[in-house]
Each structure stands twice: as structure tokens, then as C-alpha cells.
Symmetry: C2
């Protein structure tokens, strides 16, 4: 799987800006691929890029219509379906991050067949992956890990990617979730893979590479999350990361979705991640912290990052507030 670019960003009748979060992430990290947005009547979101009709998009060379919206009830409505069918008539593939499969809507699967277009349901991997071999791969790898879910692991990996690209380093971002896949144009929704193949899927998307090349692998979940830790451990073993960046949101008082579960301490989280990671890469170590300090004042954030950095003797950054240069300085020397 490799999505054809550029994209037309379809956000349908998104109820609000949050419903278009996936599309917004893609526009943020891949502005050059997002030629325009297509909104239907009643759409309350705006990606801040030109509105385009399907015909405009086709004329501009768009290759894939990206369904980058969380819809109400998880169904693909009639109005959407007509738009997607027309996009295929005009030569576009369709890629979706919805739970509902595109191919389960007859009008859409029929049109894909008639016009020989590809349908990509990023939440439903169709590739089959090998069982992981655990054999060390060439090249260098970074994995974003964390104390919990949803605290900026993808953002951190992407910020490192941009910083490394800016420095002219040899680097790729490796996506393990749907938004990341739209941004990379390839990858695997690792939490949707059959359990036996978690590590194998990660070995596949971050294969052998040049000695000076960095794969920056998007993390998922946390070894301390009671619902998803299996995904995180398989990802950690498959990644064979040399460097781990520990992502965290100070002040979060329980694991996401699990009100009774406190977050682990940074010390415990570092110790368990390093110890497990060393099963497949004995050199694995945490090299810095990426905090989400969005709920703190500037002064609070600065104090928090400094204290963390002093305590652990490693850089502590907020990718949004401070950028990730301090961490990339460390990676560049590895």
C-alpha cells in the first residue's frame, strides 16, 4: 500500500472542527499534498485550505480523496457515497480513516470495480504481515513511547522528522495509526492488526536501511495502559528502537478512559520501556522527554521542563512550545 498523492481532503458534513481532526493533522504536516478541501452542506469545520469541487480537484491532479472526518454514527451517508462515487469516476482513489469500511457500501465498492480505483480503509489492514523474526535490522530507529494514550506521540515523531529534514538528515517517518498513514502515505494501523502480527507489522514498515538513516516510528498507547499495552509492547519489540522519546502530559490524573488507573511515574515508565525494548535491541534507551504542556502557563511549562531535564539529565521539550531541536541534537550524535 502506498497512497497516491496529492490529496483532496473530504470532511463531509463535519459537525465541528474536532470531527475534522484527522484531516487537520494531514494538512498541518503535509500542506504540499493537500490541494483543497471538499465540504458538504452543513459542514462546520474548515481546514483553512481552498474549497474545491471534485472537477477542480481532478483538473488540479488530485489522485486520492481522503475521508478525514469522524462522522455521526459511523455510517457512510447517501450524500457522502454519491461524492465518493463521482470522485472515482474522475480518476481518484479513496482513502478513509472511518471504522465503517468503504467496501461495505455497495455503491462505493461497485464504482471502485467499474473504474478500477483503489479503496483504502486505514483502520482495516488488508496486507498480511509475517510473524516478527526479531533479527536486528540495519539503520537507526526512534520510537515515541508514553505514560498514556493520546498525549502527542505522533506529533512528537513528526516534529523530529521535520527537524531532521531541516538539518538535511536521512530520515523517514513511519506511521502506525490512521492519521499518520495519511501523512506518510504508507504505514500500518498497528492496533487493528491481528494480535500475532503486531511486531511483524512494525518490522515490515521499518525495514533494513542505510547505517545513517533514521526511521522515526509513531508510538501507540502505553505499556501501562490496561486496555492497549499489548499493542505497545509488540510495537516496542518490532521497532528495535535505538532511541526512545518518552511522551507525557503533566497533570493528567488517570489513564485515558480508565478513571481508576493512575499514570505511572516517569521513572517506572522509563525502566519498563527500556527493559522490554532491550529484548530486541540491547542498546535501546530513553534519550529525552516530549511533554504536552498545553494546559500550563508559559512559566509553569518552562519550570516543569527544566525540572524534568535536571532530574533525569536529558532534554525535556514540548514539541509545540519549544520544538524538538534539543532532542534531535542528541539523536544526531548517536
Amino acid at each position: 500500500m502506498s497512497l497516491r498523492t496529492p490529496y483532496l481532503m473530504f470532511i463531509g458534513d463535519a459537525a465541528d472542527q474536532l470531527a475534522a481532526k484527522t484531516a487537520q493533522g494531514v494538512v498541518h504536516w503535509r500542506p504540499e499534498w493537500c490541494l483543497g478541501q471538499l465540504r458538504l452542506e452543513g459542514c462546520n469545520a474548515d481546514l483553512g485550505i481552498p474549497d474545491m469541487t471534485l472537477e477542480d480537484a481532478a483538473a488540479a491532479g488530485v489522485k486520492t480523496l481522503v475521508v478525514g472526518v469522524a462522522n455521526r454514527g459511523g455510517v457512510i451517508s447517501e450524500s457522502w457515497s454519491a461524492t465518493l462515487v463521482r470522485a472515482m469516476e474522475l480518476g481518484m482513489d479513496i482513502a478513509s480513516g472511518l471504522h465503517t469500511r468503504l467496501g461495505d457500501v455497495h455503491a462505493i465498492s461497485d464504482a471502485a470495480e467499474i473504474h478500477s480505483r483503489a479503496l483504502y480503509d486505514l483502520r482495516h489492514p488488508t496486507r498480511s504481515f509475517p510473524v516478527a523474526s526479531g533479527v536486528r535490522r540495519t539503520g537507526k530507529r526512534m520510537l515515541a513511547v508514553g505514560t498514556d494514550c493520546s498525549l502527542g506521540k505522533m506529533f512528537t515523531a513528526l516534529a523530529v522528522w521535520k527537524e531532521m529534514e531541516g538539518r538535511g538528515m536521512n530520515v523517514d517517518f513511519r506511521a502506525t495509526g490512521q492519521t499518520g498513514i495519511f501523512i506518510a502515505g504508507d504505514g500500518v494501523s498497528v492496533d487493528a492488526v491481528v494480535a500475532d502480527f503486531i511486531s511483524g507489522s512494525v518490522e515490515t514498515i521499518a525495514p533494513d536501511h542505510d547505517a545513517d538513516h533514521w526511521d522515526l516510528i509513531e508510538g501507540q498507547g502505553s505499556l501501562f495502559h490496561p486496555s492497549f499495552a499489548g499493542v505497545s509492547l509488540g510495537l516496542l519489540h518490532g521497532a528495535q528502537a535505538d532511541a526512545l522519546i518518552m511522551c507525557h502530559e503533566p497533570g493528567r490524573d488517570h489513564m485515558r478512559g480508565i478513571p481508576h488507573q493512575p499514570l505511572p511515574s516517569l521513572e517506572d515508565c522509563i525502566a519498563l520501556n527500556e527493559s522490554c525494548a532491550r529484548l530486541t535491541n540491547p542498546d535501546a534507551k530513553v534519550v529525552g522527554f516530549a511533554f504536552n504542556t498545553s494546559k500550563m502557563s508559559d512559566t509553569e511549562a518552562e519550570a516543569c521542563l527544566k525540572e524534568t531535564s535536571d532530574t533525569f539529565g536529558m532534554p525535556a521539550v514540548d514539541p509545540v512550545r519549544t520544538g524538538v531541536a534539543a532532542i534531535v541534537d542528541v539523536l544526531e550524535k548517536m
Copy 2:
């Protein structure tokens, strides 16, 4: 899903006894459910139970034909398919442990529909499971864990089940793999579940129960196996086990299928399993060892078990040689 019993054990044209390993396990642990075996021409395996025609089996009240054989090339041959169709005509459901799905063979899926029979592909869970909640459940639970794959975790859990049943305890065996599911009549192939639902599937199959009830949960893989550790960790978190039994084969010199990977020490394996298990059950602890000493002499095995027991201050048994009474003594007091 609950398989209807009793069973007719179909071993087709099994090339050798090993190819009928699954069926043999079911006969061993559920002799009362296995009324007979059905072998086709060229079968080189024998389960040691009466040969039966489909008509005999139907007359004897068989409800499910169990495909308990690893076939050549993973395909369902024409000769098998005719037998399975006829079994459905005679009123039986079909349950299979093959990689190939029964429903992918048209003759079989058509017959299932015509005769309203159920097809169970145990390697392909069709139930959907919730994301794990991590909420503590009532009742007591034991999980078999291990230093590696394929060293007797299912056998150990089943031996404990038989021992507890013999003592009149309130107990269920909870299956997490295909052979176990045939034996329990229910369960989930946890390694075939979508990664996000590993822990949730285990919470589902071992739900709230009486305070004095034991769920004996079949383990899978190892936290130290580079291919499958994600499954093992999700299983560990979902199980919320009070007691862990550490399974091990002394003398094994590398992880199964991974020639470059040594086995962990028992100390490390206990430490990591207990530390991870305590995320969802702070009281979790390893209470004994179940060793597979089949490659040792009686004297060697006895010395090895005694040394392990002395070192760790816990019972060390070989479920085959010594039985598991010493471990059940500990569980009974919990």
C-alpha cells in the same frame, strides 16, 4: 459461541500422529465428549477411540464434527469437503482449528446455510470484543505464563483444572487457543483477535464470578518472545490473575523459532510478569513452577525440580511426571 457436544473427531488423511495433535489433546482431556474418530483413506494417525461413520455418529447423538488435524498445504480437499457436507446433512455443526476458513469453501458454506448448521473457525474469532476496562472482577484467577512458547501452559492449566475438580473445588478452565477451545467448548483464540481487543477478549471469557471460584486461564507465548509478547502482555492484563504459574522447559537453548534469542532467566521472567500483572491486580504473584522435563531422566528431573523449589521457596512440579497437587495446595489456601 459454545460448541455443542459430544464430538466426532475428524482427522481426515492425517500424515502422521503429530498432524492429529489437536484432536489427541481433546481426546485426552475430554474423553467423555469424544464419541469416536473419523479417518479417511491414507490416515496414519489413531486417536485410540472407536472408528465411526457419520451415520453411526449421528445415531450416537454427536452434535459437532471437530476438524482436529493439521492438513497438508492448509487447504480443505474435496474428500474432506464431501464428508463435512454430509455431517451437516446429518445434523452436525462443524468446528475447525485450520487456518483455512470453513466458510471459504463454497460447498461447505452452502450446506451450512441450507441445513442451518453452525461453522466455527476457532482461529478466526468472529465475535467482537469490547476494549478492556481494567476494572477488577470478582472471583479468583490463575494464569499460566512462561519463559517461551510451546512448553506446556495449556497442559498445566488443564492439569490444575482436573486436580481442582477432583477436590470438589468451584473451577473453570478458560481457553485462549484453538485446542483449548475444543476442550472447554468455548473461549477465544487470543492471538487471532484484533490487537486493540486482546485484553478485552480475556476480560470477556473470564468474567465476574463467585468469590470462591477459580478461573484457570490458558496462557500464550511469553513476555520475552520477540514475536508474540504483545499477546502475552494483553493476556496478562486482561486476566487480572491472582496467581501465576511459571511454565518452563529446562535445557531449551533458544526461544522457539528465534535461534538468536536466549531464554530469560526464571528470576527475570518472574519479575517482569509480576510487575506487569500488578497493573491490573496488585496482588498478582507467581506461586509455583510447572516444568516440562520430558527430555530428562527421572533422576535429573527430580533434582531439577527440587533445586528450583528450594531456590525460590515455591513448589516446582512437572504436570506429567509429578502432577500439580503441590501447586493446587497453594492455590486452595488463597
